[in-house]
Amino acid sequence: RIDLYKTKTNKQDQEARRTKLLERQKNDREKRLSALRNIEEESDSPKKTN
């Protein structure tokens, strides 16, 4: 519990960087697959309009 005392999560430590990078890579892979599948992914936010 001592780790909870008066600390804030160190968001940017190596573990967090690693997770972020993995997420980015997974995202890139999915984007590439999506492009090949020719489907448009639905996003969680409302679609952007030009």
Binding site: R1, I2, Q12, R17, E41
Partner: protein, 760 residues
């Protein structure tokens, strides 16, 4: 020895001998104590199934030594400590009301002693029982536990008080988990396994005042590693805020209003109490009290005579910035807050560290607010509330990293982390500062690397490595923020620094991993321009993929291979023979940490998508590996293994999808999908097995739906009969019902493609 021999049934009479020594009259006390201690150690580590048939015997012996009739104090203490370890064995006994009553009576009696160690060990048992057997506690809470733990909270003996607090912290954790489980069960339309009795809510009015009292008993010269009732009370209050949410607020606010007390201990406790409840209650409930407190907190951060109070103010303001961004950003004191935080960066390291964290939260909240204001039309906001201070904040943070005392209280790292957050969360009008910061960070990294080369100093290795990692991570942030043209301009310098970081033989794996991750970012931003670095980067990539001992380095290198596939496309064929070789070797190495293996499988798919039909040369080997991986089984009661199993299957499915897409290719004349046809049954079998798996993740469902779609669009009507299974239809329907939009759209797409071939 027992850990080794008991599971092999090679010491069958051991437990009986130990138990006899604990229960037979006239056994000398030291022998009794040693036997009970030995029993405690054995049950602590042994696989429970080994001793399950002797659990009654063990428990009877342990409880026997704890009773108040036992004259020897040391034996009773050893008994209570052994019981703590044995509690997980007591499932059956806790199901039986008579046995449960007896165990609880002995423990409760043991808490009521003036032998401090016995009281502490017995209270520890109560906390663990609360966590393990919550559902059976109803009768004991009102009759005994409530009074026992409240009295412990008030004890003058710190060790006893700590256990009293621990009991309520554990209760909070249990009830917070139960609330989450109840919500999940409700979403599934099922009743929860265990229902929360809201003991914490009922005890708020008694427990919170005691905790607030503990908050006023600070150590004058606090050692940050010491654990005492003051700190435990702070943590307990944070857990209560998360468990009881809005209900905690009226119990704390009147106390927090003593912020102007003459005694620093009360001022500190008042600020601390508010900081503790910032996370949990609805921000709307906290808005008004926070609004009122902010000017006082800012003023105290600047002027309070007590270091402890300034430290707590900085921490509390940081939490407000993080949890209640709307309140702080709209407050007229926000300018004063920035000024006070800037001033605090020059304060004692513990205050400065909290100021760094406050800046991180403030920057993130300010950026989010600006993004929301800009709506959907802008990728990056033009400006935000911190823009006019931005250059000063960055400059002060850079100075903070270089403070001679920055190694204290994690200050250097906190300052760099804060710089990273400010860089990431910066609007367009701060871009010039981002550029300047890049130059500074590159210069610092080069300076550090050259200094390392010229001096043979090895003693400060840890600090040196940490600094390299921090600079590397900061550079990653700026590169990601840069416009491509600017990134290309600095990429030569940056890459040579990263290569130098990787080149040192004595380099720590953390630094190598950070350097590889940074290289991945350079590749992401510079795209095809990265090709010019491939000759010099290649040997490091190969070495990293072969570094199976430092698996995080290997994992980062596997990620880079995936990035290369997406960056170089068909040109990846120049590298793929060697890379496939290295990836297959890594997979077949039993010594390589299993966490790397799923991403290697996915990377097989990335390579196929990049090089297209040329991939047929690897097909046989890869299919053999994927088939083997599909046959893996795990103990599904082991949650970690279950997670791994799902990740592994995701890797396999991603590999197949990549292969189908790759072999299909862009040129229909060169379509090589026929080569995969003999293996279709294996692939479909895996999809069926995934479909029927109740423990699959949503992400796995998504991948499986994607693969069905790939197969159907790739082969068309010719494989119609291969995919006509109820399980496949079920999977698609599960995907369509998913709450995750990505899975939903994937399942809809695959279902649509399936309908097309069914119509033919």
């Amino acid at each position: 020895i027992a850990q080794i021999e008991l599971p092999l049934n090679q010491w069958p009479d051991l437990i009986q001998i130990l138990v006899n020594n604990c229960t037979t009259p006239n056994v000398p006390d030291p022998l009794k104590e040693a036997c009970i201690e030995a029993l405690g150690y054995i049950v602590e580590d042994i696989e429970p199934t080994v001793l399950i048939h002797q659990s009654n015997l063990i428990l009877t012996a342990i409880i026997n030594t704890m009773r108040k009739e036992e004259p020897n104090e040391r034996v009773r203490v050893a008994g209570a400590q052994a019981l703590f370890n044995a509690l997980e064995f007591c499932k059956d006994q806790f199901e039986n009301p008579d046995e449960r009553n007896y165990i609880m009576r002995v423990i409760c009696e043991s808490t009521q002693t003036n032998i401090s160690k016995l009281s502490v060990a017995s209270l520890q048992c109560l906390s663990k029982i609360m966590s393990l057997y919550y559902k059976h506690m109803e009768n004991y809470m009102s009759q005994a536990l409530f009074a026992i733990t409240l009295s412990a909270l008030d004890s003058k003996d710190d060790q006893v008080a700590l256990q009293g607090i621990e009991f309520w912290s554990t209760t909070c954790e249990e009830e917070t988990d139960l609330a989450i489980e109840a919500q999940e069960a409700a979403e599934l339309g099922e009743p929860p396994d265990v229902v929360s009795k809201h003991y914490m809510l009922g005890a708020l009015q008694y427990v919170v005042p005691q905790l607030l009292k503990c908050l006023t008993v600070q150590e004058e010269y606090d050692d940050e590693d010491d654990w005492n009732p003051n700190k435990a009370a702070g943590v307990c209050l944070m857990l209560i805020a998360q468990c009881c949410m809005d209900n905690v607020v009226p119990h704390v606010i009147p106390f927090a209003e003593h912020i102007g007390h003459a005694d620093w201990r009360f001022r500190d406790a008042a600020v601390m109490s508010f900081g503790c409840i910032v996370d949990g209650p609805d921000p709307k409930t906290l808005n008004q009290p926070t609004w009122n407190l902010i000017p006082h907190l800012v003023h105290m951060l600047k002027t309070d005579s007590s270091l402890a109070v300034r430290d707590t103010c900085a921490w509390t303001l940081g939490r407000i910035c993080e949890r209640l961004p709307q309140t702080i950003l709209q407050h007229p004191s926000v300018n004063d807050l920035v000024a006070a935080l800037l001033l605090s960066l020059e304060n004692d390291p513990r205050v400065a560290t909290n100021a760094c964290w406050a800046f991180s939260s403030l920057a993130e909240s300010a950026y989010d607010a600006a993004e929301n204001l800009a709506g959907d039309n802008e990728e990056e906001p033009q400006t935000y509330i911190l823009s006019s201070y931005y250059a000063t904040i960055i400059q002060k943070l850079l100075l903070t990293t270089a403070r001679p005392d920055a190694n204290q209280n994690n200050l250097r790292s906190a300052a760099y982390e804060s710089i990273m957050e400010l860089l990431k969360s910066s609007p367009r009008d701060c871009y010039a500062v981002v550029q300047e910061t890049t130059v500074t960070i590159i210069a610092r990294l080069e300076d550090l690397l050259h200094h390392r080369q010229s001096s043979n100093e090895k003693t400060s290795g840890g600090n040196y490595n940490d600094l390299q990692s921090l600079l590397c991570a900061t550079l990653q942030c700026v590169i990601k923020k840069m416009q491509q043209g600017d990134a290309i301009q600095i990429s030569d310098t940056v890459m040579s620094a990263f290569l130098m970081m990787m080149s040192s033989n004595e380099q720590s794996s953390e630094v190598q991993e950070d350097a590889l991750m940074a290289v991945g970012t350079v590749m992401e931003v510079t795209d095809k321009h990265f090709a010019k670095y491939m000759d010099s980067f290649w040997p490091y990539l190969v070495a990293s993929l072969q570094n199976h001992a430092e698996y995080s380095v290997c994992a980062a290198a596997v990620g880079i291979v995936g990035d290369m596939c997406r960056t170089f496309g068909a040109e990846m064929a120049n590298f793929s023979d060697k890379l496939m070789d290295l990836l297959v070797s890594a997979l077949s190495d039993q010594a390589l940490h299993q966490s790397v293996k799923p991403s290697i499988l996915s990377t097989f798919g990335d390579i196929a998508m990049a090089i297209g039909p040329v991939y047929t040369k690897y097909l046989q080997v890869v299919i053999h590996i994927l088939k083997q991986a599909s046959e893996a089984t795990v103990d599904k009661n082991d949650y970690e293994m279950l997670d791994y199993f799902n990740e592994l299957r995701e890797g396999i499915l991603e590999a197949y999808s990549g292969i189908v897409q790759g072999l299909k290719g862009e040129d229909t004349a060169n379509n090589q999908l026929e080569q995969l046809k003999p293996y279709l049954q294996i692939i479909v079998q895996l999809i069926i097995s995934v479909s029927e798996d109740r423990d699959k993740t949503d992400s796995l469902t998504c991948c499986a739906c994607g693969l069905i779609g790939d197969i159907v669009t790739g082969y068309g009507v010719s494989i119609k009969n291969f995919v006509q299974f109820d399980s496949i239809a079920d999977l698609l329907s599960q995907g369509r019902r998913s709450r995750i939009s990505k899975t939903k759209s994937m399942a809809h797409w695959a279902s649509k493609e399936m309908k097309k071939i069914n119509a033919l």
